[in-house]
């Protein structure tokens, strides 16, 4: 076992090398650029035997990934922010054609105004493209989930592409110790990708994604919906296998932290989760009954798991680093949908938009709001903007 101090971007690139990707097609964009640069070095230095394409845009990069994956090979790319927005129309093609492309997305604010810091308004709006999305908390999870992502995406019951979402700079450009899985163990965990549903081969032609009248497309949509639901189970299986082989258990769809006996539970995603763990410890030590749920998968959405959490507490707060204007944060909207029929208050806490630092006082305030709702059985405000000048939280 080798431990090295590396950035999230390095972990994402190294994981692709461990997964022995066949094709990498990408376009650099801050703060993802280093992922692509590291991979180009691995290929150049002969460490990774992979076709490397530096495309002229993200739209082309995703188009190349679709074509490559459709030939039946393991395909990888990475992007962020505007780059993901530019890929938008091609994302649907990968999703509907069941092409298990793996793509780290370094979550960065989408303009305007132009910003380069962490916000989830790049990935959240892509939730309906037929891609899975997992949000990670630290660089170890970047490494581990990128490898697991291939296994989940390539599972015959799923066959869907996946985004591994990591916060800009807070992970992408931060170094911390990461345990590097051994190649032979990864090989055992992740066998080569051998599809039969989509394999373009001139000797045995196939038609993928051709013009299709209304007689067909609704069934194709149902297939994507069903395979996305199948992924709920596959995520858990792959997590369990990873935990067994590599000793790190991420909890699967969600991870619960000190939720037993908690009155007030905060659901977070991404890096805010880590700081929130400290606050939970602090509050528990002070006798305050709080707990934390780390939402890992946003697609497929773990409806059942969220319902189980809600049945054991008095109020829930959902943290969002993005907002659907006039409607609340996307993660909160999903949680409320999952919790239809439950009577406990479910409030939304918004903070860290545009990459603003989410501080310990911010997170204490989040827990205070949820505790207050738990005590009163109702919330004064359903949607709470934290740390916004001129807005009372």
């Amino acid at each position: 076992m080798v431990k090295r101090v590396v950035t999230g971007n390095y972990a994402a690139a190294f994981a692709a090398m461990l997964a022995k990707v066949d094709v990498i097609a990408a376009y650099p964009i801050t703060p993802q650029t280093f992922i692509v640069e590291h991979l180009s070095e691995f290929v150049n230095d002969g460490l990774l035997d992979s076709a490397f394409m530096r495309c002229e845009s993200e739209h082309s990069a995703m188009s190349a990934c679709v074509a490559a994956s459709a030939t039946g090979v393991r395909t990888y790319t990475a992007t962020a922010s505007q780059g993901l927005a530019l890929m938008h129309e091609v994302l649907f093609i990968a999703g509907s054609a069941h092409l298990p492309v793996v793509m780290p997305v370094v979550n960065r604010t989408v303009a305007g105004p132009i910003g380069i810091w962490a916000e989830h308004n790049d990935t959240m709006p892509q939730r309906d493209c037929g891609w899975m999305q997992v949000y990670v908390e630290d660089n170890q999870e970047v490494m581990d989930m990128t490898i697991q992502a291939f296994k989940i995406a390539e599972d015959k019951r799923v066959l869907l592409p996946i985004m591994v979402c990591l916060d800009a700079f807070i992970l992408s450009h931060t170094v911390e110790p990461v345990d590097f899985p051994e190649q032979d163990k990864v090989d055992k965990f992740l066998p080569p990708y051998r599809p039969d549903h989509a394999v373009l081969d001139p000797k045995d032609p196939m038609i993928i994604g051709s013009f299709s009248p209304p007689e067909y497309i609704q069934e194709v949509r149902y297939q994507t919906d069903e395979t996305m639901r199948n992924a709920l189970e596959v995520v858990e299986e792959v997590n369990a296998e990873w935990a067994k082989e590599f000793g790190r258990d991420y909890g699967g769809l969600i991870e619960e932290y000190k939720t037993d006996g908690a009155d007030a539970i905060l659901i977070t995603l991404g890096t805010v989760t880590s700081t929130a763990r400290d606050i939970v410890d602090e509050y528990r030590a002070a006798g305050k009954k709080v707990g934390l749920v780390k939402l890992r998968f946003f697609r497929p959405y773990p409806t059942e798991a969220i319902r189980k959490v809600a049945s054991k507490c008095k109020a829930i707060g959902v943290y969002d680093r993005a907002v659907s204007f006039s409607a609340g944060g996307p993660s909160w909207i999903e949680a409320r949908n999952a919790l239809y029929g439950y009577t406990i208050p479910v409030i939304n806490v918004l903070a860290g938009l545009g990459g603003r630092d989410v501080t310990e006082p911010d997170i204490r305030l989040m827990f205070d709001k949820v505790l207050e709702a738990a005590e009163k059985g109702e919330a004064e405000n359903e949607i709470v903007w934290i740390g916004t000048r001129g807005v009372k939280p």
Partner: protein, 298 residues
Amino acid sequence: MYEVRFHGRGGQGAVMAAQALASAAFQEGNYAVAFPYFGAERRGAPVMAFTRVDKDKIFSKTLIYEPDYIVVLDDKLCGLVDVSDGLKDSGMAIINSAEKPEDIKLGKAVKCATVDATTVALETLGQPITNSAILGAFAKATGLVSIDSVVEGIMDIFGNRIGERLATKNANAAKAAYEVTQVGTCQGGFECEKADKWLPGYDELPLGLATRPMETPEGLVGPGSFVDNKTGSWKTFAPIYDPDKCIMCRMCWFYCPDGAIKEVGEGDAKTLEFHHEYCKGCGICANECPKDAIKMER
């Protein structure tokens, strides 16, 4: 409320006819809607258009499955498409045909009107475009709209698209057709061949609709088209191939939209074969050939 289904071929103007009928009914104080249904259609393919007319606002946004009237712009369609499918027993068929209503064979025996709209169109427009003439027959046979309103409808819809001068000619075609329309009853019991449509459940559909081609002798076709879809019946002009002029550049093969051209033979003996069952006579091959090796002939 009455509902009309138009059957034509891509390019014959069934959609404009449906719109002009709606406009005509509107001139008489009705509420009327007309809409097309576009499948994977190309020029020459059987198409449908619909008109719905009522005294009050129409809310229904569905296609028409049980029409009161069917209008057929090309009587050759009667053998290809079940034009009278769902037609009410009390309904009526208005057909462009040189034959008498009594000689027309449909799925059911119903009231029927025929008019030789092709001849009328050739005389008034100088072209075999029948979408305006057939509306004159509709007015005469059904009495639901007056011929004056039909003229107004044509001036409105055709006028916007092709200008007043040509619209006037089309209005004249409708008036001429009005005079020569015959009304009677057609024969029933005709069964047209039903195309075998591939409609698997979601769990039998290949994942993401990535299909192994259903191979035809002519080439590869996808899920929207079928071996049974003999597009050859659409053609008026057929390609005549001269192998002596051909340099085997394969431009025609590349551009043929129906995969109707196939390479045969080996080495120097290589030549092309045109499959007339599938060739729809579009003439693209002749247009693309750099050596004039293909001529389109009737």
